[in-house]
């Protein structure tokens, strides 16, 4: 008897999941991955594009990274019929499933903030979370002659929550090199109560923005944009000459159409098993899930490992025994060829120390270093050649405390 796993989305999470699952399930299982297009972006690479970074190799064919034994269907999803265990595609095809994994990510929705998508969009208002946006911003920065540069987060959750900080650090560095820093005011606008919100990170990194003369506008929830000014719900105004915004993030529209999403279209799941709270045959992984941790490739990677093991158990008729701990691992570019590294999970905030090995590292946690920057650059090769194909990485999915300094060991 043939059984089916259908994966919706061939991005970071969906591609890894399908490839790893193909190695572990026998041929009675057909694995199908659906995506609306054949363009797989390396999203961490977008960060450098506004500052003149090359776009070569940032987008590649999804086909090239999907295992031969996995069927890739290029079509949009109309909706999921959970009761019938079927996915209806936009071209009318029906895909039955025994298990469904929603891996359709998060999309940018500038349309959700009044005034964002108006005539100023890509004239004075830019994003760098899309390749088109990052390229357009590169043009705007090339022509920038000083003034008010505002980096803005519309609301949380967002993909790669440290990216706006990284952009700010890199912008500061870039403006200095071009002799434009003194004629530019840099402002960081966030809906949270600061750029750093966790105790140790605030304590150790809190001065990174003030040292660079970046003003922070906290607790700012934008209501609308008009006359090159961000206006918050409580009437505060932040005028700009160049706005680099992170628009509201929402899940795929088919998730909402199928009644499987929360108010933003993310799929409510058990945070340890990634199983939909609405239907035991449905899982969500990567940015599409409502996990209370960062929407980040590292979370996708570590949670995919857990989900694969659990699906293999379910396929064999056994209960799931693996549990995801919320592990995330993120590089943070800080300018001047340096970067920080963060490693944390649901329970443990980012701690200082060394990674992955105690004392020898070679990377430092919660601290700027050149090695971390090289690690970030090298990661692109690892992404295309090791992670996506689903080859083993020498990193266990669960976070390790080895090498981390806790309050008892921190001086």
């Amino acid at each position: 008897m043939t059984r089916h796993v259908v994966v919706l989305g061939a991005g970071t999470a969906g591609t890894m999941l399908a490839n790893k699952l193909r190695r572990k399930l026998d041929d009675t299982w057909v694995i199908t991955v659906v995506d609306r297009d054949d363009a797989h972006p390396y999203q961490p690479g977008f960060l450098f594009v506004p500052f003149g970074g090359s776009t070569a190799g940032l987008v590649r064919s999804r086909h090239a990274f999907v295992h031969d034994g996995v069927e890739l269907v290029l079509e949009g999803v109309d909706r999921v019929d959970a009761a019938a265990q079927e996915v209806l595609l936009l071209d009318g095809r029906l895909l039955p499933y025994d298990y469904l994994v929603i891996a359709s990510g998060a999309s940018l929705r500038p349309d959700q903030t009044p005034g964002m998508l108006g005539p100023e969009w890509r004239r004075s208002i830019f994003d760098f979370y899309t390749l088109d946006g990052a390229k357009a911003l590169a043009g705007a920065l090339r022509d920038f002659r000083g003034g008010r540069l505002v980096v803005h987060i519309t609301d949380v959750p967002i993909k790669c929550p440290v990216a706006p900080l990284e952009f700010t650090f890199l912008a500061d560095d870039w403006l200095r090199r071009r002799g434009l820093r003194t004629s530019t005011t840099l402002t960081y606008v966030t809906p949270l109560d600061g750029a750093f919100t966790k105790p140790l990170a605030s304590q150790r990194l809190g001065s990174m923005l003030s040292d660079r003369d970046v003003a922070v506008e906290p607790d700012f929830l934008v209501e609308h944009i008009e006359d090159r000014t961000l206006v918050s719900y409580d009437g505060r105004e932040v005028p700009f000459d160049l706005l680099v915004t992170v628009p509201l993030h929402m899940g795929a529209e088919f998730v909402t159409r199928s009644g499987l999403g929360d108010e933003l279209g993310f799929v409510p799941v058990d945070k340890h098993t990634l199983q939909s709270t609405a239907d035991p045959h449905i899982f969500a992984v990567g940015d599409a899930a409502d996990l209370p941790t960062s929407k980040a490739g590292s979370v996708a990677h570590f949670s995919v490992d857990v989900l694969v093991d659990n699906l293999v158990e379910l396929a064999a008729g056994r209960p799931m025994s693996h549990s995801f701990d919320g592990h995330a691992n993120c590089f943070v570019e800080s300018g001047d060829g340096k970067a920080l590294l963060l490693d944390f999970n649901y329970e443990t905030e980012p701690l200082p120390g060394t990674f992955p090995a105690p004392y020898v590292g070679p990377m430092s946690l919660l601290k700027e270093s050149r090695t971390n920057h090289l690690g970030k650059l090298a990661f692109r090769w690892v992404y295309w050649n090791v992670l996506l194909p689903g080859r083993p990485m020498p990193l266990a999915p669960a976070m390790s405390m080895a090498g981390k300094q806790t309050s008892s060991t921190t001086t």
């Binding site: 109560d193 966790k198 929830l221 108010e263 409510p268 409502d290 209370p292 960062s294 943070v332 980012p350």
Partner: protein, 104 residues
Amino acid sequence: MPVTTLDGHQIHVDAEGFLTDLSEWDDELATVLASQIGLTLTEEHRAVLRFLRDDFAQRGETATLRRASAGTGVPVKDLFRLFPQKPAKKMAYVAGLPKPVGCV
């Protein structure tokens, strides 16, 4: 974690005064916490607090203003009226929940 006593309630709090033991919270403590930040709770406030508590119990994460608005039907503007100036932080404080955080 420091222990503090507020109006006869002994509670565990973090450095910013947010409750760290969620089970210590009840309606009466909410009134005390609210008075700490100059708020007098009405039924409108309490409806929002109930949503925040229930939502946190299910998801393990404090709701954003957008989510609280969607979940209670109270427009975001009115959340700013009920919990003026820093509603996200104030709602979490009075509901005895962690403030909304990023990853660093």
